[in-house]
């Protein structure tokens, strides 16, 4: 787009596996929003899986090697920052960078491990994290490139003001629950972005889009992650309470930033609703778009480039309801203004005993 040429903000881009399949619309809408806001993205050539959660639950060096390979590939783009939409990829890539950097010290443990009770006679002979990772990679591991989330790039590099200025179709009246997922901001020492307990980046982007952001207490509560396959019951319980909370906050939609959250809350909604109904609760029909899809709509980008048709729960009814509510509110405020005007006129022309506009008797209670 035209503004893309006026800034020189360009980063390497790591899509991540989910974004080639179940979360294709997250990839597509992230790219579209970045292009529209002047962020250049150069795909990491020949990228492979970051290893995600399964790798680190099996072995930290294996996880480090799988992630580090992509950091090495990212450097081939000539850019030291790698943007990724997926928080799991982000965590995997940042964890690898973090431990490789820490490992300039012989053993990461040496720094934290201050207590005599934990002293391990073997710690001196244990090979360092870096040497173990490099042994798996069979080449030196990098230190240079570092991963950031697309959300962080939009908030910190582009800026909320610039986003607000680029909005063409504000999402007026749409009540959105901002759901960050559990690892976008945690742990704070690793992610180094926003507040770990009450993050606001997503709130600010959505507000800039003209949406009404509801105060959502479960911003960072886990949705059940990848347990949908091995322990469906756990995912159902955790996702059901997120939906209940969003509904009780009056949200029309939940905006997400994580492909796994989106899958649990959208594609698996039937499973989650079945659980809620079985518990005597209620099912929910609220859509769960990626925040980049909402941002794209607000920026006036063509719907075809945002993958709205890939959402299992249609976003359009929520948008229509918001538009209707806004029209209704406008009508009411126009009526109120009219009434106030005529009251004023009455006050002038009449005996002068009528209540003054704005006095307490005239104002309906909230």
């Amino acid at each position: 787009m035209s503004d893309a040429t006026t800034t020189n903000l360009t980063l390497a881009y790591y899509p991540g596996c989910s974004q080639t399949g179940t979360a294709a619309e997250y990839d597509r809408s992230s790219r579209a929003c970045c292009a529209a806001l002047g962020v250049g993205l150069v795909d990491v050539p020949d990228w492979s899986c970051c290893g995600s959660t399964p790798a680190h639950t099996v072995d930290h060096h294996l996880a480090g090697a799988l992630a580090a390979r992509n950091l090495i590939q990212a450097e081939l783009t000539g850019h030291d920052r790698v943007a990724t939409p997926c928080p799991s990829c982000l965590a995997a890539l940042r964890t690898a960078s973090h431990h490789l950097a820490e490992d300039s010290h012989p053993n990461g443990a040496a720094q934290n491990n201050a207590s005599p009770g934990d002293a391990d006679p073997n710690s001196r002979t244990r090979p360092s994290f870096r040497s173990q990772v490099e042994r798996l990679l069979d080449r030196p591991a990098p230190l240079r490139s570092v991963a950031v989330s697309v959300l962080q790039v939009l908030v910190e590099d582009v800026g909320v003001e610039a986003i607000a200025a680029a909005v063409k179709h504000p999402l007026t009246g749409l009540r959105v629950a901002p759901y960050y997922g559990c690892i976008m901001n945690r742990p704070p020492g690793l992610m180094a972005f926003d507040d770990p307990e009450n993050p606001t980046a997503l709130d600010r982007v959505l507000t800039a889009c003209g949406a009404t952001v509801v105060d959502f207490p479960f911003k960072t509560e886990c949705c059940g992650a990848a347990f949908a396959m091995p322990r469906l019951d756990i995912m159902q319980r955790l996702s059901a309470r997120l939906l209940d909370m969003a509904a009780s906050c009056g949200a029309d939609a939940i905006a997400v930033a994580c492909p796994l959250c989106q899958m649990n809350l959208d594609l698996r909604r039937g499973q989650v609703n079945a659980f809620s109904l079985g518990q005597g609760g209620i099912g929910h029909a609220m859509p769960v778009p990626y925040f980049t899809q909402l941002l794209g709509l607000a920026l006036g980008l063509p719907e075809s480039g945002l993958g709205l048709d890939k959402l299992v729960l249609d976003l359009r009814p929520a948008l229509a309801a918001a538009a209707e509510r806004t029209a209704e509110a406008q009508k009411l405020s126009a009526q109120a203004a009219q009434a106030q005007k005529s009251a004023k006129a009455n006050g002038k022309n009449g005996t002068g005993h009528g209540p003054k506009p704005g006095c307490k008797e005239n104002t309906p209670c909230a």
Binding site: S18, A24, D46, G51, L66, D120, C182, F227, P230
Partner: protein, 233 residues
């Protein structure tokens, strides 16, 4: 919530080197845990745990190796980082849970067999394709877990929305071979560390080897190689 504590046999069950081993592998100061319970309070999985996470920490301090490594909780931890974020003593509790899971694997424990099967199937998919092939992973897991119909209803909505890639998206260049080589080295080093050859590797059976920096813990690798037959649920 009241969680009953199983009887502690400190006299006989205590393994004094256990705390040091966990501290060393995780790089965390375990002795500084003063049992405030903050980790458990914020853990979304506490209702599913057999041992709440602060008690896991305590059992490690007490050196109750078997009790820790055989519990379900370490398999149900989602690495959501709430505990790590909130621990007043700056202990990376999630990393400790990770390390305990590694140790449990090496010791041949898998009380949540499907969780282990899922991780193994996921990594087998990465080893084979260089990236996760979602449809293949779902199919493999459905068969291995013995619950083939659980997610059958998701196929149609995914298909109609073009979300179900039926052909793997593999890395475009050398990536696939490089990832396979990382897994091959990982398996080889794990075998060397164990001081013997194993009949198992990731590509063949979908079961990645655990690393072997504490060979003495690798007493029972036989269970490692048979993830599909120990469906304990």
């Amino acid at each position: 919530m009241h969680i009953p504590t199983p009887p502690l046999d400190l006299e006989h069950a205590r393994d004094a080197s256990f705390q040091a081993a966990v501290a060393s592998e995780s790089g965390q100061c375990l002795a500084s845990c003063y049992q405030c319970g903050m980790c458990t309070a914020g853990c979304a999985y506490t209702p599913d745990y057999d041992v709440p996470v602060h008690q896991v920490m305590r059992l490690v301090q007490l050196g109750l190796r078997e009790q820790v490594l055989s519990c379900r909780a370490i398999w149900l931890c989602a690495s959501c980082q709430a505990c790590t974020t909130r621990c007043p003593n700056n202990i990376d509790v999630a990393r400790v849970m990770d390390v305990l899971r590694h140790m449990a694997r090496r010791a041949g424990h898998a009380p949540e067999a499907n969780v282990k099967t899922f991780a193994d199937s996921f990594l087998a998919s990465v080893a084979r394709h260089g990236r996760v092939f979602e449809a293949g992973l779902a199919a493999v897991f459905a068969i291995k877990s013995g619950r083939p119909m659980q997610d059958a209803g998701l196929g149609l909505p995914m298909l109609t929305r073009g979300k179900l890639a039926l052909i793997p998206h593999e890395p475009t260049g050398n990536g696939k071979a490089e990832v396979a080589a990382i897994f091959a080295r990982f398996n080889r080093f794990a075998d060397q560390g164990a001081g013997r050859h194993s009949h198992d590797d990731v590509q063949r059976s979908g079961t990645p080897k655990a690393s072997a920096n504490t060979p003495k813990a690798r007493s029972d690798t036989a269970k490692d190689s048979a993830p599909t037959t120990e469906d304990g649920q």
